[in-house]
């Protein structure tokens, strides 16, 4: 089996889906001859031509609005937003249409659209090339929101997203686009939407996380084991909405302790929802407070980003806090 990074895995997912289904098309800024600024769509235009790989004018609102029309007609568009930080012009379309057309039309129309976009920090991208805005989408009924953390999952989840009949916001943590390599089958497979992945088994405390923070959590778990012998379990949500509540509950049944780690700002981040869910439905399982490690409630800074983002020290502090409660 070949090993590949996430960019290559995503490229392969797109290529396979476009070969499998002539309704799948790709559109976005610089996705054609440039192959995307991160090369996720590299050379697709050579195989599928300008009608199915569309270099669009510079307007995110236009890209998404046009893709909505295409999806209603019956295509399976995959729209790229060059950086998720630039999606805001398209918010009107996403919130008012992508998310609501099924409901508004009494189920007569749907928008099987995938909006994929590099997200998150860690590459010195500054304020407008680093954000983690997943909460806006999670909060919008009608959207599925996904963030893979491995090449294997990226390929399988993107294929599942293209095939599902609902719109999907597919967020790709750019800091791990090329840093993680693993074996990825060259044949067709999907990773199911709505299912978390058990990254590491443990018995003392559960970390629920996703995206690039999976790797920071692994490092912090090593530190906790080294310093205190604590055995950390790590769950990668993969699908953020609808998140895998069974996986979360099953894990805290065992550990009784919950830490949630994400890059997105703390207030109304996904951690708030998971924590409330557990408090409402399974408070008796908890032996201590739920602790969140998240981006601070500030814009994403250009300077000191590694201190702004959840890092090993901050995750370790959270583990310590719940373990010593």
């Amino acid at each position: 089996m070949p090993t590949m990074n996430m960019v290559q895995a995503l490229n392969q997912a797109l290529r396979e889906e476009m070969r499998r289904d002539p309704r799948v098309i790709v559109l976005g800024e610089d996705v054609g001859y440039r192959g995307g600024v991160f090369l996720v769509t590299e050379k697709l235009i050579d195989e599928f031509g300008e009608l199915r790989v569309i270099d669009t004018p510079l307007t995110e609102g236009g890209i998404v609005g046009i893709a909505v029309g295409m999806a209603m007609y019956g295509l399976r568009p995959v729209a790229e937003i060059q950086f998720i930080d630039f999606v805001y012009e398209a918010f009107d379309q996403i919130v008012s249409n992508v998310a609501k057309i099924r409901y508004r039309s009494g189920g007569q129309f749907s928008v099987p659209l995938v909006i994929r976009s590099p997200c998150c920090g860690g590459v010195r991208g500054g304020m407008h090339h680093s954000q983690s805005p997943e909460s806006y989408f999670i909060h919008t009924a009608g959207l599925i929101t996904i963030m893979p953390s491995t090449p294997y999952d990226a390929k399988g989840l993107l294929k599942a997203s293209i095939r599902v009949d609902d719109p999907v916001i597919f967020l790709e943590p750019k800091s791990i686009y090329r840093t993680i390599r693993e074996e990825v089958p060259e044949e067709d497979y999907i990773v199911p939407i709505g299912k978390a992945r058990l990254v590491k088994e443990g018995s003392d405390v559960t970390i629920v996380t996703y995206g690039a923070m999976v790797y920071k959590s692994i490092e912090a778990s090593k530190l906790a084991a080294e310093k205190h012998g604590w055995d950390v379990e790590i769950i990668d949500l993969r699908t953020l909405m609808p998140f895998d509540r069974e996986a979360v509950l099953k894990s805290i049944e065992k550990t009784g302790r919950l830490v949630i780690v994400h890059e997105a700002p703390k207030t109304l981040g996904l951690g708030a929802e998971i924590s409330a869910y557990v408090a409402e439905n399974a408070i008796e399982l908890l032996r201590g407070p739920v602790v969140r490690v998240a981006g601070y409630d500030t814009p994403f800074p250009l300077v000191h980003e590694k201190l702004y983002m959840p890092n090993v020290a901050r995750i370790y502090m959270a583990i310590k806090k719940v373990m010593e409660y």
Binding site: D30, Y296, Y308
Partner: protein, 381 residues
Amino acid sequence: MNLISQALAKDLNLDKALGIFRVLDDQGVPDESLEPKLSKDFLLKIYEYMVRTRILDEWLLKLQRMGKVAIHAPNKGQEATMIGAALALREQDWMFPSYRELGALLVRGMSEEEIIDRAMANADDPLKGSDFAIYGSRDKKIVPAPVPVGNQIPHAVGFALAAKIMGDNIVVLTFFGDGATSRGDFHFGLNFAGLFKPPVVFVIQNNQWAISLPVRKQTAAPTLAVKGVAYGVPSIRVDGNDVLAVYSIAKEAVDKASSGEGPTLIESLTYRLGPHTTADDPRRYRSDEEVKRYEAKDPIPRFRRYLMYRGVLNEDLDREIWGRWRDYIETVVRRCLSKPELPEEVIFEDVYSEMPWNLREQLEEFRESLRVMKSLGLRVE
């Protein structure tokens, strides 16, 4: 001359939006009927701004490669547009640039040192490490650009409209690229400008490319200037590598705006000789031959030929100018490199006028995390 007013007179006169206004030919020889009457000192000042911009641009590229600057958007080839347009502004006027106007910053009085401090986001960075590739200073009446392309266009219109409402005599000039003309913000801004006639000047730096998208794939409109015409904004196309053409037209637009005659859109035809940014590889989408063709139209040698033709410049003076600015900017770079980083807690500043409880709490956690890192000997990865 009154070129813009002529366009205005015939109302939807498309001639100016379809033609190209130029003063200098490719060899730098002026059309004497259009040549502005500028003093020798002023002409040399224009040239020095161009030289300074080119040298500064080269340094920012170098500093980026050294890891001292996060990213840089090269200005090479576009100096005539940014400098010609900014020189048309008066002391009291304001500027809303994008991320590719180093020369305009210099014209408005930002120093090389402020610009490099900003690019490096060091302790003296006037924008306190907020984002990359953007520059500005309230003192100099330059509003720092938003990185999302074109966001500043409606801001410039609103700013100018506010001045009009308050009865203040200022003109607002905003720069943006050809790509930005596809954004909603461009259309919102132009529509309001056409209706409410604020004193605003739009300068499109049509450098032929928006990353990999050539302008002919950005729009099917015959020119970008006709988009202004569609909104009832007098619009004109100029040779953006001819600093005298840009200056003449921008000056007229500023005069017109300041005398209550409303907005003008200037489409300035230029070319980005470098990569889109230091993160780009233009060979993936354009040929070296094309770049070579435009290198021959580089605005700096073109203006130098004009100055020599007019006897304002000779080889010795030219060498002296380049040498003086090279030495000066190198000294500035060394000084900037020796400055400390911004303090860590700066990331919590300026979110609100006063820090709310959640941030105060988080700042405490932040301090604690720094202590823990130190005590465990953890380095920021």
